[in-house]
Amino acid sequence: MDVLLNLTINGLATGCLIFLLAAGLSLIFGLMDVLNFAHGAIFAWGAYAGGWFYMETGSFVLGIAGAVVVGVLLGLALERWIIKPVYGNHVSQILITLGVLLVLNECIKVLFGPNQISVEPPALLRDSWMVGGVILIKYRLFVIAAGVLVFMGLHYVLKHTRLGLIVRAGVMNREMVEALGINIKRVFLFVFLLGSGMAALGGMLFAPYSGVIHAEIGMDYGILAFIVVVIGGMGSLGGSALAAVLVGLLGAFMAYYVPSAALAVNMLLMLVILMFRPTGLAGGKGA
């Protein structure tokens, strides 16, 4: 029983991290039809920059703030210089953001060294509670709480503010929103920065969660985020959340019960879902 519970908490925490990464990606694609393969690199940059701020200042909160700032700045540069020239061209978008991913990953190795770096949770979150024979690791609960908070905040912004209304309308029918005289480019920039900030936050929270970080997490988790977005349905926040939790739980349980298949489980999940539902679990647009 405690094994099941532990695995569930594990899976939920991983799911929350993946959600932070995937939600921005999904919104960016849904709203502006842009495929951003460099999203994972921002995740990695969040982990490294946040970890650096955290270790230099000793304050976890400052680390988080630093990670988000770096993520937003990277997002700004990315949108302005890289994405803007290739609007509307999927092939170029895939190719160019892939190049950015490579370069940003290498830059991490230049700045922070090619070896992996270990990051510890802050003192407050380091231990675990024992509740009736079940070990609850504080940091995992914290990650789950952070993920749920971000989801709720995002949900509120999307469903209950004017800006959210415009974003949702933009996902559904961009031309119509533009025809109403709304500058969708500015809305998009906002969503892009929001997505980048969330990716960096996810990276920062990931660092103490896994204990060690290396430059390849940008590639690995970028791919994972794409799988999640594809499974959930591009442009759907709820779909991304559902798919992230699904992937997180499935990963945790498979790693425990069928470790040899754990590596392939996400790929297989995506294959099966795309074969039968080419637009993802909650997707209506696309294919």
Partner: protein, 327 residues
Amino acid sequence: MNRGKTSTRVLFGLAALLALLPLGIESKSMLILLTQIFLYAVFAMSYDILLGYTGIISFGHAMFFGIGAYTTGIWMSKWEASLLSLWLALVTSVILTGLVSYVIGALSLRLKSHYYAMLTLAFAGLFFVLAEKWRSLTKGNDGFTFPIPDVLRDRTALYWLALVFLLVSFWLLRRFTESPVGKVLQAIRENEQRTESLGYDVLRYKIIASIVAGVMAGMSGVMYALTLRFVNTAVFSTNVTLDALLMTIIGGVGTLYGGFIGAALILLAHTLLTDLAGVHWIFERWMIFFGGVYILAVMFFPQGIMGTIRQWRQKKKQATKLAGQPE
């Protein structure tokens, strides 16, 4: 017509020069490097069939390369290191890559470009995991060395074999791209809807393109295994696909020669810059330079080196034509 003749002459000259090169080169590592350029050129050209001629982005090209490399390794180590097993490896990898590319193409080519890219990534990931886990056959991540036929143990012989392989592949691929099927592929790249409305079965043509690309990539994998005499799961990694992508883009999409130029540039620069790592550590991170060049190429020279040259030549030709016309 005239241009076709001169470029054929240039090609023959280049081929003859490359064939004579080993007589003047003493350094073994240089020969190996050139051999690798030849086989990666074929790999990049096969990718160009997808990206440059048909307009499909695949993230799983490494799986065909890997299948070729592993069938070679397995035949040579489990059976005997003779020319017969090389032949069998070639046949097996053609059958396997053909089959795999057909199945994957039929399953996923009807999806949109980004979904297809993700699916090929997933399939290649499955092959990677399979190679890691099927240890009795692949020895997992450690890989294994294997003997190769005695004739090919001589580096010069292998060099010539790779050169012949490159020339034959280039000739075959050029015939393919200039055939009616190749023309339809280019029409799909330019405007898929219109090609479909003209009555062509677009999916079928895309599957043909992916089979041709897959089989050629598999054969370059066979050559790769012969050159290295070693194979491990790295042949299935995403980096191998990225190599093909970088070579094709930098060399020039939709040109075939581009693959050769891209492969030569990247492998030469890689060797040179890694040698320079002793001078300054930044050269160790040579991917930054290439990533930068690659991004600029996608942005400003979407045709790559060969494509830009070709475009420039066509413009010049048009200009002379216009100037020659009486007012």
